[in-house]
Point group: C2
């Protein structure tokens, strides 16, 4: 349960981080090459994103002779999780379950993933509720799906 990450990076910056996360320490050239292939970004474009990430403190730099080696200042899983948690805060409580179902159905999962999911689900059963109220309109839920409403 990591608290307060609150860094918020853009889609383009994510793309850079993915390269860094996948390779531990990288030179700018490596990042540039990967993204030139994958996203067709001009080198200058990638450089901009790298620079912004460094400024935000999300990329560490360590000098290696003349160049820099870049590495992530944040843990990949923690970052993904807190980003997703923030995204889910936009979603009405009552829809979270369906959203998760949809995600699972679109995902490619390993046997291990499935095992883990089954395990959490088993735990969640203990604290499951009958109906989840809409929390979009505080105080007075008039949402169609909430019999409890108003």
């Amino acid at each position: 349960m990591v608290k307060e990450m609150e860094s918020k990076i853009s889609d383009a910056e994510w793309e850079v981080m993915r390269v860094v996360w996948a390779q531990d320490k990288v030179t700018s050239k490596e990042i540039i090459d990967v993204l030139q292939q994958k996203k067709e970004w001009k080198p200058a474009t990638t450089k901009t994103f790298i620079g912004r990430l460094v400024k935000k403190g999300i990329l560490y730099t360590e000098e290696e002779g003349r160049k820099f080696l870049y590495s992530s200042a944040i843990n990949e899983s923690d970052f993904i999780n807190s980003t997703l948690d923030e995204t889910f805060e936009n979603i009405c409580n009552k829809d979270v379950g369906n959203a998760i179902v949809n995600l699972i159905s679109n995902a490619t999962l390993s046997f291990k993933d499935i095992e883990k999911i089954e395990k959490v689900i088993e735990m969640k059963k203990k604290e499951a509720v009958e109906e989840i109220p809409c929390n979009c309109v505080p105080g007075q839920c008039r949402c169609n799906n909430c019999s409890s409403g108003h």
Copy 2:
């Protein structure tokens, strides 16, 4: 499997949509009131977001005498799902499973949600794979978690 939603709304706009979705048809005053309470937005601020959503075609307007009634031009669940699908495209394939585990563990779920999740999981078992390769660096995965790599 809804294709092509590609509307992309901002966090602030989401907040407006939540109010609309929760209530079917609403006046601007209702939206403004809710968000003044919930987010402490000035009426003018909310008006701006409403206007932008109308311009984007995401809010319908229908005249009701002098005022407008606003309603959503898009289906809530479809919208949520396609937004999340897009978000998950930022996430390395190999991390998707863990991300889902995390989401489940932070969610409040109903018995029905859990049932549905169990059902999808059951289906996913048939197409589960041994290991999911990192797809962040195309062609040559050097990611730590991928034994298959490079």
